[in-house]
Each structure stands twice: as C-alpha cells, then as structure tokens.
Amino acid sequence: MAIIEFNDFKWHYYETEEHDLTGVDLKINKGEFVGLVGPTGSGKTALCYSVMGVIPHLSQGRVLGGSVVVDGLDTQEHSIGDLSRSVGIILQSPLSQLTGAGLTIEEEVAFGLENNGVPRSEMIDQIKHVLKRVGLYELRKRSPFEVSGGQQQKIAIASVLALEPKILILDEPTGYLDPGGTEAVFSLVKKLNNQGKTIIMVTHKLEYLARYADRIIIFNKGNVVRDGKPQEVLSDVHLFKANNLTPLPVTRLGHALKLKRKWKGDLPITVKDAVRGLK
C-alpha cells in the first residue's frame, strides 16, 4: 500500500498564478526519495499542499473530483492538524516559518508539541532528540531570529520532525540559502531518508537529486509529465526543453558530444558519470 495516493485528484484555484491540478494519479511508497521538478507555476506547490492538507482546508479554491489519501487518511476528511502527525512540510522562506512564539530555539521547536498537548516531560526529551538530530542542540538557548538562514531552515526541520511525521515535504527549501546551507539541508534530508522517512523534495538543484533521489517526477500544467528513475528522466534532454526546464550541465555536455558522435551510451547525470564516459 502506497503511503501517498493521488486518485484522479482535481483542484481548482479561485485565483492565483499557480496552475490547477488536472486529475493527478500518483502513488508514492514508504521510504522513497522523490524529486519534484517543474517550471514556475506548474502546480508543484499545489501538489505539496494537497499532501499536507493545506489544499483543501486553507487554500482558496475547490476540489473538483478525486481524492488524496495520506498514510491512510483522506485529506478531505481530516484536518491539517490530524495530517500533521503523518506529514510535515518545509517551505522556502526560513523567516516565514519562524512562528515567533518561542523566544529561544528550543521554545520554537516546542511550539508544535505544545499545540498537540504533549506532556512536558516527553516534550523535553523530544526537543533534545530532534535538535541533536539537526545539529542545533548547542544553540538551543539562542533566539531563532539571530541565526543564519541555513540554521533557520534547520529549526523549521526540527520543529516539523518533533511531531515525528513519516513523510517530509520540502518545497524549494534551499531557495534562500547559500551553497553551504544548501549542502547542509540536502545531506540532512538524505540522512532522514536513510532512517526511513519518505521524502518529497521540490527543487531546481538537479545535481543533488541526481545523487540522492530514488525517483524523479517532471510536473507541468497541473499534472505528472514523466515519472521514473533519475537516470532515465534526467538524461531526457528533449523532455526538459519541452517543459521549459534546463537539464544538468553535464547532461547537456553529453548530449552535445553525442550529436557529434563522441559519446556512447546513456547520457551522464553526474560529474562522475561524465568523467567515466569521457575516458
């Protein structure tokens, strides 16, 4: 049984720049690392929101048909609060995710636990555990507004992890971060994936997906365009062009060489592949 199931899900936004969801059929299994790629406004965020329950409960729009079932719960029948015990979401802007409810990092992380009525003794252990996991334990008494963007994203991750969701959705989490911060976030996410968490990551950083993802979905105009293993999807240069996306530099290099008959076999998606192929 898939942990996330989209059954011909159709969602209509009343007004926004994002595309409606036009009958999405998708199954994601427990423990998969799924990369979600697509041009701006294609509906990737809508897809993420649909797993989280933000669609249909918070967003301005209407379900036209179909359903989304997450960890056995139908998103239309359960509140975001219920779903938050199975799914967590990390958004792009580190600052917007700081609730401001806590004056220290540990209080910020405590917020979600407090809202869910977790007893205090459990809370203390859980916060310690989760802060250590993301590497922020030493900074726990600092103000969340006084640390770097990358660390703020880690706070967001910790806050979400505290509720022990099985699924983690990240919507362009490194958009505002520098390369160091980006690397930190990606390796943390991969670590969590190795520990059994299901990951859906929306990003343009294809080189990371090439290394870490089990599966890549190209998403456009509100629906899935291609869904497969990184090697097959990322090397399909024509597909990328057709959807207004830029393939990886190494892949484009390989493609150009292939046209000149200087390349044999599958196109490279990592630098390692490229080096091997050039030998």
Binding site: L91, L95, T99, T104, E107, G112, V118, L163
Partner: protein, 263 residues
Amino acid sequence: MAILQTNYVKRDSIIHSLNPMVKFAWVLVVVFLFLLSSSMNLFIIVNVIILIFAFIGKIGKAFIKGLAFMIGPIFLFSLIIHGFFNPFGTGSQEVLFSFLTINITWGGIMNGLFFGFKITALISVFYLFILSTYPGRMVNSLRAMGLPYKIGFLVNATLQIVPLMLRDAETIIDAQRARGLETKGKVWQRFKAFIPLIGPIILGSVMRVYERTIALEVRGFSAKGKKTSFYVEKIKARDKVLTIISLIFIPVYIMLRVVGWLS
C-alpha cells in the same frame, strides 16, 4: 536575544527579581488612581514611593535621567497652558502676575502642577516597570498565570517580529538614500519620500503572512484539545503576597473615597 529593545537595565536587585506580575500590579494601581483621583498630594506621594523603589532597584540614576527628559516638557507645557490661561478656571483666582492680556493665577499654577505630577506618576510607574523587567520574562510569567496561549503567541511574536521589521526599515532607508532618495530638505520632499519607504515594507511582510499561516497550521495551531506548556515560570510565595498587597490599594482607595477622606 533579539527581542524588542526596551530600556531594560540589568541589575541585581530585589525589584528586578520580583515576578513581573507584582510590578504589573503596581502599574494597575497607578493607572487606576490616574483615572479617578484628583488629589495632587496623592500623586506626589506616589511619585516619591516609585522613586524610592527605583533606588532600591539600583536604577535610581537611570530612572531620574530618563524621567527628567520626559517630564520636563510636560511640566513646562502644563504650567503654560494652565498657568497662563487656566482653562479649567478652578482654584484661587488671586492674580500673581500679569502681562499683556494674560493673568497668571494661583489656581492656574496649581492646576498646572497637578497635571504635571499626575502624568509624572503614570510615566514613572511604567518606566520603573520597563527598566526593571526583562520583556521575555513578562510574557512567560503571564502565560504561567494562565493567559490563553493565543494571546501569549501574539505578544511573543510581536516582540520578535517588530524589531526585525524596524531593522528592515533602517536598511530600506539606507538603500533608498544610496539610490538618491531625498530624505532631508523641504517638507514636501520628505513627505514624498515616505511612500517608497513604507511601500516595500508593507508588501514584503504581508505577502509572507500566508506562508506563516501555513507554518502555524502545520504545527497544530488550531488543533482542538488541551495545550501543554514547555516554559514554567517560578512564582514564589512572596510574589503572590506582594501582588495581593499592592492590589488591595484599589478597594482601599475606593472605600476611603466614598467615606470622604480622600479625593
């Protein structure tokens, strides 16, 4: 901590270590008197008491310095408005001094002094609170007393978000100045400058409220059921006692007023 910068002065004193609820009780009492009393003597006594507390709290110097700055203009204007013109027309009409069409009466001066002391009492008690209470502690102690969590959230979030936005405002002023925005000079120019400064601040922050709403929802902000609390503020017995003693002044005052002993 990046909390709203106040005039908090860190000292090691009894006043500082008191739970904020005690000092808050003092504020309530003075506000109450401010609204109801018309006795200048009472306000003078209040001012003296607060001054004493300030010195007990080892912030006497800072207190006087800051206060003088604020009450200087107040006494000045009060004496001018009431002394020169005596709009309330109360008190002794005995003319002390006269120039042009203005008669300075004793009653007017007394009124001027009265309002001066009254306002000073109000400012003093708040200033004492401000100087001796760490803002973060104030919110947490209110929460420990049972303040609904949504209100606690509002105050905490405000205390942290506002300084952030003020910093943004400073950055924007510098950035726009560097681009040639005229911020000094004629009044009209300065007015025009306001809009390109406040505009980006408003739009930027409002756009992000939607994301913040999602972040809150996802952490169970509107979940039903009992909430627990991570922070526990210690309330000592002496804090409870002092609070009650302070608040008793209110009913005592009312009684004395009714009986006619006070005004």
